[in-house]
């Protein structure tokens, strides 16, 4: 079990200035004290709603945003303190695929040029690079006739395949997938998910998969981290999380998406009340307490710590032990 990516006590605060001349400064705690490690070869999922900080984590690892504090290690390299050159070499070992396929490719150049660019940057001779582009296009089932087109001439699925091709063209070990299928139609989503599985097997890739779509995360991921308002609230292997979720928020998330089966209509429901509060002013104590039906006085004042409940099942909740949430799963 070798950790490929290690985040230790990572915090990311964004500053919002308002008031006259930006005198008043408020902090948005996008990621607040998150530690996790991604093991080589696994698919690590991060789930959460908007504002949970999951996308910020995706950008912290290749240092597209700088952390406020904490450390990020990729294959032993300290990403936060790496020099320009070290960082560049580390980034070549990662790929990243974004949510919106339509704006993931430079609209002014052909698809082939977009896929070829990383090779060019890595200093590969043009001819070799062109061959590699063809090869990788075939890998992602992108017809060669598509290569000479511009991104807007492609369907959403093709655009996303092209983005994946660009992400893996340098043969990275690690690919960050930031909601790669949420903008796609169901029938196309299945193609892309299968493609991701095939590529992983073939090149023994490590994936970080970020999504709000629980069934998709369950299908793809080995371990899942649940985030809420910048905090990691639970982390477990997929099977364990589905069998016995410990945190009420995880349970709510798992049960939120209605299953595509009318017979499940009378299933037990667990619906959180209210909306996620503002990130600039998160609640004291446990951040979920205003929405949590199990909240007690302690939850309002004391922030729960992330504890290990056996074989790497982490959760941060005061009520674990009092509650049995493993029903209806």
């Amino acid at each position: 079990m070798e950790a490929l990516v290690e985040l230790e006590r990572v915090k990311k605060h964004f500053v919002i200035r308002d008031g006259i001349l930006g005198r008043r400064r408020r902090f948005v705690h996008a990621v607040d004290d998150v530690s996790l490690s991604i093991v080589r070869g696994e698919t690590f999922g991060i789930v959460g709603e908007s504002g949970s900080g999951k996308t910020t984590i995706a950008r912290i690892i290749p240092r597209l945003v700088n952390v406020t504090s904490g450390s990020v290690k990729f294959s032993g390299i300290d990403i936060c303190r790496a020099s320009g050159r070290e960082l560049m070499l580390a980034r070549r070992r990662m790929g990243i695929v974004f949510q919106d396929p339509a704006s993931s490719l430079n609209p002014r150049v052909t698809v082939a040029a977009s896929i070829q660019r990383p090779l060019q940057l890595a200093g590969l001779p043009a001819k070799e690079a062109r061959d590699r582009v063809r090869e990788v296009a075939e890998l992602v089932n992108l017809g060669t006739e598509v290569l000479d087109k511009f991104p807007h001439e492609l369907s959403g699925g093709q655009q996303q395949r092209a983005s994946i091709a660009r992400a893996i063209v340098l043969r990275p070990e690690f690919v960050i997938l930031d909601e790669p299928t949420s903008a796609l139609d169901v029938s196309v989503q299945a193609q892309v998910l299968n493609l991701l599985l095939d590529l992983q097997q073939r090149f023994s890739l490590t994936y970080l998969f970020i999504s709000h779509n629980l069934p998709v995360v369950r299908y793809l991921c080995d371990r899942i981290a649940v985030m809420y308002l910048g905090k990691l609230v639970e982390l477990a292997s997929t099977g364990v999380l589905y069998r016995e979720p410990l945190h009420p928020y995880s349970l709510a998330l798992l049960m939120a998406a209605p299953p595509p089966d009318p017979k499940m209509r009378n299933r037990r429901r667990f619906i959180l009340t209210g909306d996620p509060p503002s990130l600039t002013n998160p609640p004291q104590g446990c951040r979920l307490h205003p929405r949590c039906q199990f909240a007690v006085e302690r939850c309002r004042v004391e922030e729960p710590e992330l504890r290990d409940y056996g074989s790497g099942h982490l959760a941060a909740c005061h009520r674990i032990g009092d509650l049995d949430l493993g029903f209806a799963m």
């Binding site: 597209l64 990662m94 990243i96 974004f98 704006s103 993931s104 660019r117 940057l121 000479d148 511009f150």
Partner: protein, 276 residues
């Protein structure tokens, strides 16, 4: 492949072709002015003053009996010079300021935006007056001073466009691939701002020519007997009821050039945009 496609698009784009033809005629006239013009632009013949357009003088003559046709032909050189100078300065200053301010943001953005706003607030006539008072009247100085206050519009547009593009996933992807800032600006952001820059510039060109005209009118720019279209136009105003052609023809020449430039710009924007 893609170059071929660009040519093909150019060949099919009516606006671009029309614009180019108009612009090329102006260019050719300017280059071969000495050969085309039947007279020198400052050749006076008081006896032949105020002859209406006709066989002898295609566009008629002015109060000094100078051949208007010849003057307008020579004037095209001045118009093109003004236009190209203004465009060159506007694009180089406006685009670079806009790109830098929009891409890097923060303190640099604050400083550059402040300068932009300051320049925006500067009345062009006052600046030109100041420059000319110190250095003496000349067309070049007027043109440069006009251009120096005309770039803020371009800078602002490019800045806001840059800000929206720099957060697009394809730019983030480029950063993740290890592209340098310079490369991101030049390869990813600049091409995507090209459209508005071209249109903005071509729209402002006629305005630039006209604003130098105003300054010439005040005696700051071109001096008689220069065949500057603006100058002819303003001189002709005195005789507009007696000899309207003196002001009509330079006006038409100006419109011809402006329309040509505009059409070419709009066409160029469509041709360079792979989405059209």
């Amino acid at each position: 492949m893609s170059r071929k496609r660009t040519y093909l698009k150019a060949a099919k784009n009516g606006m671009f072709i029309t614009g180019t033809v108009l612009f090329l005629t102006v260019l050719l006239v300017a280059v071969f002015a000495d050969r085309i013009a039947p007279h020198k632009y400052d050749e006076m013949n008081i006896e032949k003053a105020f002859i209406p357009p006709g066989r002898a003088y295609l566009f008629g003559t002015d109060e000094f009996g100078r051949c208007l046709f010849s003057r307008i032909i020579y004037g095209s050189r001045i118009a093109l010079k003004i236009g190209l100078m203004v465009v060159a300065i506007q694009i180089s200053v406006g685009v670079s300021v806009g790109l830098l301010a929009g891409y890097f943001g923060g303190k640099l953005d604050m400083i550059l935006s402040f300068i932009t706003d300051l320049t925006w607030a500067m009345p062009p006539v006052v600046l030109s007056l100041a420059i000319v008072t110190v250095l003496g009247p000349s067309l070049e100085r007027v043109v440069v001073s006009t251009a120096l206050v005309s770039w803020p519009g371009c800078a602002r547009m490019v800045r806001s466009k840059t800000q929206s593009i720099k957060n697009m996933p394809f730019v983030e992807a480029a950063r993740a691939l290890g592209e340098s800032d310079l490369s991101i600006i030049v390869r990813y952001i600049l091409p995507n701002t090209l459209g508005i820059v071209i249109v903005l510039t071509t729209l402002q060109l006629p305005g630039a020519i006209l604003s130098t005209t105003g300054l010439s009118f005040l005696g700051l720019g071109s001096q008689p007997p220069s065949p500057d279209w603006g100058l002819i136009l303003s001189e002709g105003v005195n005789y507009v009821s007696k000899a309207p052609w003196i002001s009509i023809f330079p006006g038409l020449a100006l419109i011809y050039t402006a329309v040509g430039f505009n059409l070419m710009g709009e066409g160029l924007r469509d041709i360079l945009d792979p989405r059209t």
